[in-house]
């Protein structure tokens, strides 16, 4: 490509002019792109969480982690009886029932321990059920009950958002470290819930289990759907009571 020598000067002039213009434009462009409100993580929640911002303690992490059908957020310590414990920012331990239990029982009422009552890990501490029957569930930690979630007790949908607004009661747990060693978190917790889900699915329909690996979430009140009046026996099986 033979350029005439003299045309190099005009070309170079154009090049440097363009480069300087680009630099001058780049600064505002960068600022424009980086500016704007930080895009909030609009998490597509499975359950509505209107109160989460207020109720969510500082130490909790945004729920993630798939467990097939049932969720187990990070930071939550799971008891094999499908209750959970979580250390909060104020030093107390929140206790609730997990998503599996929530979905198994469906809309329900709970009987919670009284303030000041002592609970022990692995011992029945609360009851969950419908108008007719209640099924006991085990406490995940040792401790003294210092707070109770009235909303959960009063309303039918109080258990929605089982890890957030659906917390049941708070305890002061003197032996938390030892208790936590008995509980599941993260991967093992998810696997545990996943297995429970699969076992449940197999009950529903041996073939369905494998189809649903591609999707389809179970609805509330599976226990009743599966076993009708026998749901209590099914629930007790899972809740270890």
């Amino acid at each position: 490509m033979g350029h005439e020598f003299l045309s190099i000067y005009s070309a170079k002039l154009l090049e440097y002019t363009l480069a300087i213009s680009y630099l001058l434009l780049f600064i505002p462009f960068w600022k424009y792109v980086q500016g704007g409100k930080r895009a909030e993580a609009t998490v597509p929640a499975v359950a509505k969480r209107p109160a989460v911002q207020v109720a969510r303690p500082a130490g909790a992490v945004a729920p993630r982690a798939a467990a097939g059908w049932f969720q187990v957020p990070a930071g939550v310590h799971l008891h094999p009886g499908h209750t959970w414990a979580r250390l909060e920012a104020d030093g107390l331990v929140s206790v609730g029932v997990d998503d599996f239990a929530h979905k198994l029982v469906g809309p329900a009422r709970v009987e919670l321990p009284a303030l000041g009552e002592k609970v022990a890990q692995g011992e029945p501490a609360l009851e969950i059920g419908d108008e007719e029957r209640l099924v006991p569930m085990l406490s995940p930690v040792d401790g003294t009950v210092v707070a109770v979630n009235a909303a959960a007790r009063e309303r039918q949908d109080g258990l929605d958002d089982p890890y957030g607004a659906g917390w049941l009661f708070k305890v002061k747990a003197p032996r938390l470290a030892a208790n936590l060693r008995q509980l599941l978190t993260d991967g093992p917790a998810r696997r545990f819930v996943e297995d429970a889900g699969e076992a449940l699915a197999l009950r529903m329909n041996p073939e369905l289990a494998h189809v649903l690996q591609d999707g389809g979430t179970p609805i509330h009140g599976i226990g009743r759907a599966l076993a009708g009046d026998e749901w209590e026996r099914l629930a007790r099986q899972y809740f270890l009571t």
Binding site: V33, A67, R190, P206, H210, T217
Partner: protein
């Protein structure tokens, strides 16, 4: 139902039934495949596959419009060059997650790598269709034309496809449950990612270097000694844009898989849009610099000049601004439109360089035959079908809980 004892599992499903047929019986599965989308795909393949057979039975002259003045057509310009550039998402997202440490992009990483892997397979398929003596492809391993940019392209594509294949084995081993091999491969992922960035840099730019030796044949607005830098940058742009487009589609089509996963594709899309805005903005100016460096600004007033401006203004600058506006204001839809335009812009660039602006000064210009176009569409369809088949079965968009670990 109470008779079913707790924990009892019915007779173990066969591997084929569980893994391949998605748990359905063969009849159920076939029935579930009768969808309108599949009908269209079947129509495309019903014509395309025989065409490919004809191409090999009757030769290039019978099926293509290639000529002595147009040795490269759309099988090179589109299937190979565009296929390779649109598969660049594999190394861009891989680097983003593994090397830049932005783990929040992990949910889309595997899909990007799968897209890249299938894209390269389709590019190689297109190449096989185009080569006159494809059985001599192995000569690349015996006789080394190291002075050739095409030699570098060939070797790097071979190496990079191997790296992609190895990266793909990670979800594959999860699918079949081979834990030991899986953990070995998982450990190798960092090294594989470094290699993938390295090989990608080399061959994406080498695809541009291919045209360096034809200064009198490629239109001066597109020809530049820096064309290899342009090709590398457009590969990055294509990677970002393609991942935006592909993840949007995947997460809608395969919604059932990611339900409950709390993968915020929107947030990732906005992040990618931000990166894309900056790279495309710089690339636009770089293209102008290339024109000035080549003393070719006079051509801007011609028909080809207008077309050049369509490419860089309409399909580089405009999507860059869309990305900027969308990512800044949290408007995901705008970013997605920018993504589509970005992909189209890169496709246009590759077609321009290899077919449209190539041999621009010849009296008779090349127009692809309908058979060439149909074969190209067939190859793309096969790629999409493979993508869907794999995503429906293997843990690409979702975690396999047996292999799930604590993510941070």
């Amino acid at each position: 139902m109470a008779s079913a004892s707790a924990g009892a599992v019915s007779a173990p499903q066969s591997f084929v039934r569980e893994k391949i047929l998605l748990g359905k019986t063969f009849r159920e599965y076939v029935r579930s495949c009768c969808t309108p989308v599949n009908a269209v795909a079947a129509l495309i393949l019903a014509i395309g596959i025989p065409l490919i057979v004809i191409r090999f039975a009757a030769g290039l002259g019978a099926t293509t419009n290639l000529s002595q003045t147009a040795p490269w057509g759309i099988w090179i310009g589109f299937d190979m060059m565009t296929g390779i550039v649109l598969a660049a998402g594999g190394f861009t997202i891989g680097a983003t997650v593994q090397l830049f440490g932005l783990k929040e992009y992990h949910p889309i990483e595997r899909a990007a790598i799968l897209t890249a892997f299938l894209g390269y397979i389709m590019a190689i398929a297109g190449l096989l269709a185009d080569l006159g003596r494809p059985w001599n492809m192995v000569m690349i391993f015996a006789s080394y034309g190291t002075a050739s940019a095409l030699f570098e392209v060939a070797w790097c594509v071979v190496c990079y496809s191997s790296v992609l294949f190895l990266e793909f084995t990670i979800p594959f081993f999860e699918w079949v449950g081979w834990k030991k091999v899986h953990s070995v491969m998982k450990k190798a992922l960092i090294a594989l990612t470094v290699l993938s960035v390295m090989f990608s840099t080399m061959h994406q730019s080498a695809l541009g270097s291919l045209f360096l030796l034809a200064p009198t044949k490629l239109h001066p607005l597109w020809y530049s000694p820096f064309i290899f830098i342009f090709f590398f940058l457009t590969a990055v742009i294509a990677g970002i844009s393609m991942v935006i487009v592909e993840s949007s589609i995947s997460h809608k089509v395969f919604h059932s898989q990611i339900a409950g996963q709390h993968v915020d594709v929107d947030k990732l899309t906005l992040g990618l849009g931000k990166a894309g805005a900056l790279v495309m903005f710089a690339y636009f100016f770089l293209k102008l610099q290339g024109v000035i460096d080549g003393h070719a600004w006079g051509y801007l007033r011609t028909g080809y000049g207008a077309w050049f401006l369509v490419e860089i203004v309409g399909f580089v600058l405009v999507p860059a601004l869309l990305y900027a506006y969308g990512s800044r204001n949290g408007k995901v839809k705008i970013v997605r439109i920018g993504g589509v335009m970005g992909v189209l812009g890169i496709v246009l660039n590759r077609l321009n360089v290899s077919v449209i602006a190539f041999n621009w000064n010849q009296p008779v210009r090349y127009v692809p035959s309908w058979m060439e176009v149909w074969v190209s569409i067939t190859l793309v369809t096969i790629g999409v079908l493979l993508f869907r088949w794999i995503v429906n079965r293997m843990p690409i968009l979702r975690e396999d809980p047996r292999f799930a670990e604590a993510h941070h």
